[in-house]
């Protein structure tokens, strides 16, 4: 996964609360291998009719090249399905800006280089106003935790560990394997002090 520090791109307002994982990707698409690309599943049942044709009046269908979504509270709540993040990433989205996010969604997002930028209620109201007449360019700086929309500067919240990870594009497995000895030592101690924590093998 490649890291990034700044992102400038077209931001689209999707002023809906509770855009949950089942809306981001309906369950019926989740058996597809990732290599097929998940972009076309993004918000499938909101964006498309029963024949999978794009609905002309859905905002995301009216604009190309959207890189940033600005949404309502509780974005990505629900399921742990990482496929919800794949739909965004594969559709070219780099950041979602919202007042709150589902906890598991946020972890999954950061693991795929997608920024879940949390903004306060006042900042959200400002941003909604700036975007209500159509897509506008926003630039995001992970290092400073600030975003710019025209002359307006706003702060966003992000856990420090997630900031570092997004910037460095770290692979957790590589990082963890550097601690192999500590893990081995822990497992040995746990096995001797809590043998009951291992499943009985009679089965």
């Amino acid at each position: 996964m490649a890291g990034w520090t700044t992102c400038t791109g077209t931001a689209l307002l999707l002023p809906l609360d509770n855009i949950d994982t089942d809306q981001l990707i309906p369950a019926r698409f989740m058996s597809a291998p990732r290599s097929q690309g998940y972009g076309s599943y993004l918000l499938h049942d909101l964006r498309r009719d029963a024949n999978s044709e794009l609905l002309a009046d859905f905002p995301l269908n009216q604009h190309d090249g959207v890189r940033i979504l600005v949404a309502g509270r509780n974005f990505g709540s629900g399921s742990s399905r990482e496929a919800a993040v794949y739909t965004l990433v594969d559709a070219g989205i780099t950041a979602v800006i919202a007042p709150s996010f589902g906890d598991i969604f946020s972890s999954n997002a950061v693991n795929n280089g997608l920024l879940p930028a949390r903004i306060g209620a006042d900042a959200a109201a400002t941003l909604y106003r700036l975007l209500e007449n159509g897509p506008t360019e926003i630039s995001i700086d992970l290092a400073t935790g600030r975003l710019h929309c025209g002359t307006t500067e706003l702060r966003f919240d992000l856990q420090d560990s997630w900031r570092t990870k997004l910037i460095n594009g770290w692979d957790d497995i590589d990082l963890t394997l550097q601690h192999a000895e500590a893990i081995r030592d822990y497992a040995k101690t746990r096995h001797s002090t809590a043998p009951w924590a291992w499943p009985t093998t009679a089965n």
Partner: protein, 468 residues
């Protein structure tokens, strides 16, 4: 460690291998449960040429795509491929798999506790948000995404920032016809779906102590619907009695040692929580959702709220939900006609849930069709031994095999567009049970009441004179 500790503090400390400067812990994973949906993670492992670090601590279960009818006959190609992929991955990595024909097959969050794979003091991960269920036994259990599943497979560890601690204390006796499901829907309606975001919830108080393990699982299961990745209950004698003799639970000297260790897993009386919420059991009525978010719930004897009267930030979502659900504000929720019912899922597919539904259904006929899918094959067998299957079928419902079924619809058990389903499941999201499906969440007893009357109904009068 010094000072007063919470259950979360104790469980966290037991599993912490190291703490990074940025506040993220590397935690040991005692049990890793995988299912068909874990295919992305196995693919990532393959891409790296990595192996499963601890196959003996990893268990596979076929549930999300499990057909509930005509099992063994030809399956839809997509479903067959998903199940085959899990089977091949389990074989390749030496993982014990509860496959479609295993006598203990079922939903991962039902099978784990039932088999004694879930124990107090364990850290349990699964690529499913309802992994919080296992916290009912005093485990540190949380759902993870595919990248994290791959990480656990490869290292048996997970990086995680310790959440804030929240306690929900429920005191007093629940009224007749009120269950753990109602406690959950009640607190989520009260605090909102983001109410516990960033927190681990410990459930405490006399009401919780009085709940069976099944009830505690329902409550912990739904923690994620209130935003909490973790739910937990301190283990007690009820927990130990539930686990004793389960197939994978410790035996002999290990059992005694385990019970001694588990007895220490509690919150100190003077421990502080980042958030404390108190609820009186007497204030909780049978509760039902009217919208498309679990927080959009009301007591069954209340009216569908007028969006204009809601908190300003919630009005537009409520309007959209009413439109999707085809409902009008200000009308009583009771009396809303339903087209079908579903009883099952990791939330409410356990034996106690089936018994609660049967207490309503016995000797009655249903006005609408529906299916009943027990949470595991063992629960199905037990229910059949108790004659519950006959009560369901005599009433007019279909008795099918175990799996996630109509809760998530991956196996083809779907609600048709525009149809309204009274459901014992966990999510009333738009399209959750099928495109355009309208879901009302409620307890199994309330689902049974809706089946009997063909509309959303207060179960309490239907239970009068019956042993609930």
């Amino acid at each position: 460690m010094s000072g007063a500790l919470t259950l979360l503090d104790r469980l966290w400390a037991m599993h912490e291998i190291l703490l990074r400067e940025d506040g993220t812990s590397l935690l040991w994973v005692d049990r890793h449960l995988v299912h068909e949906g874990s295919h992305h993670a196995f693919a990532k492992l393959k891409d790296r040429g990595a192996q499963v670090a601890q196959p003996a601590l990893t268990f596979g279960i076929v549930d999300h795509y499990a057909p509930t009818r005509n099992r063994g006959t030809e399956m839809a190609p997509d479903i067959a491929r998903m199940i085959k992929t899990l089977t091949l991955n389990a074989e390749a990595h030496g993982i014990r798999l509860f496959d479609l024909f295993d006598p203990a097959q079922g939903i991962v969050h039902v099978v784990g506790p039932e088999q004694g794979l879930t124990l107090p003091g364990l850290l349990i991960n699964c690529g499913d948000s309802h992994t919080s269920t296992h916290g009912a036994l005093g485990a540190l259990a949380f759902g993870i995404g595919a990248t994290e599943v791959a990480h656990v497979l490869a290292t048996q560890t997970i990086w995680q920032k310790k959440p804030a601690a929240m306690r929900i204390t429920v005191e007093g006796d629940l009224g007749p016809g009120v269950s753990a499901k109602d406690i959950a829907l009640h607190w989520i309606a009260k605090l909102g779906v983001g109410g516990a975001q960033g927190h681990a919830v410990e459930y405490a108080g006399s009401t919780i102590r009085g709940l069976s393990i099944e009830g505690r699982m329902t409550l912990c299961n739904l923690s994620i619907e209130g935003g909490a990745r973790f739910g937990m209950v301190a283990p007690d004698d009820t927990t130990f009695a539930y686990l004793n003799g389960r197939p994978f639970a410790p035996k002999g000297a290990d059992w005694d040692m385990a019970c001694a260790a588990w007895a220490e897993l509690r919150t100190d009386p003077d421990a502080r929580f980042d958030r404390d919420v108190n609820i009186q059991a007497a204030d909780i009525a049978p509760t039902v959702t009217w919208g498309t978010s679990p927080e959009q719930a009301v007591p069954v004897d209340a009216d569908i709220p007028d969006p204009a009267t809601l908190h300003s930030g919630k009005a537009s979502a409520a309007l959209a939900a009413l439109d999707y659900m085809g409902l009008s504000a200000g009308k009583p929720i009771a009396g809303t006609p339903v087209d079908q019912v579903f009883i099952g899922s990791c939330t409410n597919g356990r034996i106690e849930d089936l018994r609660a539904a049967c207490a309503v259904l016995a000797g009655r006929k249903t006005k609408v069709p529906g299916i009943v899918s027990p949470g595991s094959a063992l629960i199905k067998a037990q229910a059949e031994q108790e004659g519950l299957d006959r009560i369901f079928t005599d009433a007019g419902l279909e008795w099918v095999a175990s799996g996630c079924s109509m809760c998530v619809g991956m196996n083809g058990d779907l609600v048709a567009p525009g149809k309204r389903c009274a459901s014992s499941t966990n999510r009333n999201f738009q399209g959750r049970q099928g495109r355009g499906a309208r879901t009302h969440l409620m307890s199994p007893a309330m689902v049974a009441a809706a089946a009997v009357t063909g509309q959303i109904t207060d179960v309490r009068p239907l239970l009068q004179g019956r042993a609930a």
